[in-house]
């Protein structure tokens, strides 16, 4: 089994995808392609086996965002650059249950990091942000994501990874 990760294509088979989480399944099946092509809300990258190159077995979605300098509380503005803070949003990451435990999540997040570095090289970006399910916080922390405090206690945990850290990993 050789895994390929590439952009979502129109005729990819997503109907059978089941990661065990309905919102993540629903997004891939109903919204990912439209958001990528029509709404320009996020780009989804899919994992496929090269023996069945249409059947999606995992995916992640990336988008760019920024925080205006004026949005930060005044006492924290000092030290920030006098511009908007650009960041990459890792909006979703999911693996089909049939392929869980085979390192597919690792392969997907590795590719997300590489793409993020390329984006940062091209347009400038400071960090990656993700909203992790509480039960997945430990998994993201393994890659160096740290919790951003102050979110709703029952909702997802917003997490931060400095792209300088990712670049340092590349140089090790």
């Amino acid at each position: 089994m050789a895994i390929v990760i590439r952009r979502l294509e129109e005729h990819d088979e997503v109907k059978r995808f089941d990661c065990g989480d309905e919102p993540l399944n629903h997004y891939l099946k109903l919204h990912a392609w439209g958001n990528q092509t029509k709404s320009s809300i996020g780009v989804s990258y899919v994992a496929v086996d090269d023996l069945a190159p249409r059947a999606v077995i995992g995916y992640f979605t990336l988008a760019m965002a920024s925080v205006p300098r004026g949005a930060f509380p005044k006492k924290h503005v000092r030290g920030l650059p006098p511009y908007e803070l650009p960041l990459i949003l890792l909006a979703r990451l999911a693996v089909d249950r049939r392929f869980a435990g085979r390192g597919l999540g690792h392969a997907l997040i590795s590719e997300a990091f590489r793409i993020s570095l390329r984006v940062a090289d091209e347009v400038g970006c400071r960090c990656i942000i993700t909203d992790a399910y509480r039960e997945r916080v430990v998994w993201y922390a393994r890659y160096g994501f740290v919790a951003i405090e102050g979110g709703a206690p029952n909702g997802p945990q917003r997490m931060f990874l400095d792209l300088r850290t990712v670049r340092a990993a590349l140089e090790r």
């Binding site: 996020g42 780009v43 988008a63 347009v123 951003i148 931060f160 400095d162 990993a169």
Partner: protein, 134 residues
Amino acid sequence: MALKTKRKPIEPTTINRARKAKFQADLALAENRAVRRLKEELQLSSNTDFLSDAVALFQWAVSERKLGRRIISESVGGERNVLVFPRLERVAPDTSLPRVQIQWTERELQSLAKLTTAGEANHPTEALIRAMRD
């Protein structure tokens, strides 16, 4: 198709002549049959011509994907198929990401400001180092 290059040592008298590389391919029987059939269909008499045309086609496909263009076939009835060839995806650009809005609470923004203004970034974890090596 695995291609092996044979290189002869260059003698001083041949340095200025046009250099040609020799290729030797170890093909499975099915691949060999496919090559013969293609040569017949394309009316190519030599393996050199076959390889030369194949390289030209591959070069074109790579250059298209490098520009971010998709390669599509279209039937007479207008039905379209997009070529998905995993190796070609390695050269496709990935850097155009759309922009979205994120909602933040004030405390999240405080926390983000602290993390962003840290003088030095955290050291990469073992998992992150592995991710960037794999």
